[in-house]
Symmetry: C2
Subunit: 345 residues, 2 copies
DNA sequence: CTTTAGCACTCTAAGTTAAAGAGTGCTAAG
DNA sequence: CTTAGCACTCTTTAACTTAGAGTGCTAAAG
């Protein structure tokens, strides 16, 4: 795509990016000169920086200021220059202790802990899409009669989800009738992912069963309803206040827009879902993002699995001036731990 | 407590409060004079206002500015002067349509809707404490064997809660054994509130049952665990960005402190719990609040019930300059609707 | 005794100007 | 190709000025 830069330009670009990430101030030629290993004068650096600006890797906020990286500059840095941060001991420990901490059987709790770790270790806002119910496979369906008018449907997936819902049973069902239906359904649905349980399949089953029993309408409505309803997934947020620490969000109006975004769970869900790629970690810088509201931000996402099945996505959202190497390292570690600890239960 | 004011002072105080709530600017004597029905000159008003300042109802931000109400001023206004806002038709409709909207069986959904309505109708941040599990009464306990090693415990309360939890069954239990235990437990626990199911009671039951069956240790551990765990209650937030609209939060630092507070669910819970009073609506202005973090805010809380049993609290949190009459009206209506719609299901 | 007009006074908010500082681009010399 | 030197640009900060709002006080009027 873009021609590769010579070594000196790479060094200079890297120096600008690193410094700008650290200080949030435009980086001048003197600063780079001090930073640059093979002692070059600031004038030389200036020439190179002017070149880099022409090529679109850097910009000046105004004539007499240092340079800041453009989106293209960050991209080049991420693709070619960044060296993977070696995380300090304590971060490593925080991650492993807070995730794999023994007997957390509840997935939700693990997820919430992950948002904490992720946001505090990166100093950014983290968002995690809870396990995607619909990608889990159907395992078991039970119906518990509660009283003469109501029943409790319990749906269990191979990934350990348990969903339940109270339903009205207008016609009273006998135990044996219920048993029959339930075991038939279990037989037919076993192993399918929830995604695959489409309305048409349900209709088919419904026809099938109606031949035998005519009272099960309610039971089906509940199944349909519970499936439909559970398609909505929660997005967990962590460290929303962290954006207030970033100088790029000193403007109250920007803060408002960002927080408004955070309040819209369905939108966050779409953003995460669109960015979940099968393998490893995805970095979207600025306008590489498809969603208007975050075109000035960088979103770094990773996916986690249970038994090699991708079931959720986690992300870090912040300004394009973000400590890429750190965030990516943390994300990498966290995903690994999550995968391990989720699959071992 | 504080001596009552004469009618003219009341009028003037009321005018200052109302105007300040509306404009967020210190209110001068001219403004009050225009506002005051029996035409008085600004000089007279000035004298009265000076008196009110001496008495502690008003203050001046600086020598040559208008007055703003003190906490004492707001208190007097709320207690004696405020006339109950007549809500506009559409607010009324929003409330009733979004709450009682037919077939919302899920309590959680009703609660979430309530936060929406409450924050948008008041233009403040709303917080709602989800139904308090521990105040509900035990209704039914079920144990569903999932496979040879695991079981699903389902706990149902009179208020319609359903909690479940997967447990490990190290010793395999036969159906009949399980049945025995479950029915014994149901018998013993029926009607008790979750609050009343203390560890000591559990221990007693445990001793009781051990005489008959010795394999139930696991079952008890699960009961204990599930009870313990469910004591934590969710607090739902709505309209957190609304505080950004208030001019008193134009300072990024204040915003940060506020948002930090919103992130601490346990603290919010404590705040709400401490303010939940059996009947109707409580207004806490400024330092009347016990919690340090909201001593500069006003918190208005109300409680909602299921079948005359108080199970949750909702609140509106904002600056002391708050449209008290509107917020209280909205809260009143909302609580009524909530009570109706929760008790009718 | 209460009310009001008048006026000097105070304080803030907003705008203007000036000075300092950082960093650049260009030129010319090494 | 590199670098020292320098004029130039632009921002940031502080100091100063001005306009305006509102007060408190005094003295006169009701």
């Amino acid at each position: 795509m873009s021609a590769s830069l010579n070594e000196r330009k790479e060094h200079i670009l890297g120096a600008v990016v690193v410094n700008y990430i650290k200080t949030a101030e435009p980086v001048g030629s003197r600063t780079v000169a001090r930073f640059y290993p093979g002692g070059l004068s600031s004038a030389t650096i200036r020439n190179e920086m002017a070149d880099l600006e022409d090529m679109g890797y850097l910009v000046q906020p105004h004539t007499s200021a240092g340079r800041i990286p453009t989106q293209k500059g960050y991209r080049y840095y991420v693709d070619h220059l960044m060296d993977m941060n070696i995380l300090s001991q304590d971060v490593e420990e925080t991650i492993s202790s807070s995730i794999s901490a023994g007997k957390m059987r509840e997935i939700e709790q693990i997820i919430i802990n992950s948002t904490r770790v992720l946001s505090s270790a990166t100093n950014q806002t983290s968002l995690i899409m809870g396990p995607q119910f619909k990608k889990s496979a159907f395992h078991q369906l039970r119906i518990l009669p509660l009283d003469e008018k109501r029943g409790l449907v319990v749906l269990i997936t191979d990934t350990g989800f348990i969903k339940n819902k109270v339903i009205d049973l207008h016609h009273q069902l006998s135990h044996s009738e219920l048993q029959q239906v339930v075991s038939y359904l279990n037989h037919k649905l076993y192993g399918l992912t929830i995604d695959q349980v489409t309305t048409s399949l349900i209709n088919e089953l419904k026809r099938d069963l109606f031949k035998r029993l005519e009272i099960l309408e309610q039971a089906f409505i509940l199944l349909e309803e519970s499936l439909k309803e559970e398609r909505q997934i929660r997005v967990f947020l962590g460290g929303t206040t962290n954006i207030l620490n970033q100088p790029e969000f000193k403007d109250v109006d920007k803060i408002r827009r960002m927080l408004k975004l955070f309040e819209q769970e369905p939108l966050l869900f779409k953003i995460l879902e669109d960015n979940s790629s099968e393998d490893s970690i995805v970095v979207r810088i600025g306008s590489e993002n498809e969603f208007e509201d975050i075109k000035e931000c960088t979103l770094i996402t990773g996916t986690y699995r249970i038994h090699d099945k991708t079931i959720g996505t986690l992300g870090v959202l912040g300004p394009t001036r973000m400590d890429y190497s750190r965030v990516i390292s943390v994300m990498q570690r966290l995903v690994n731990h999550l995968n391990q600890s989720l699959s071992s239960s």
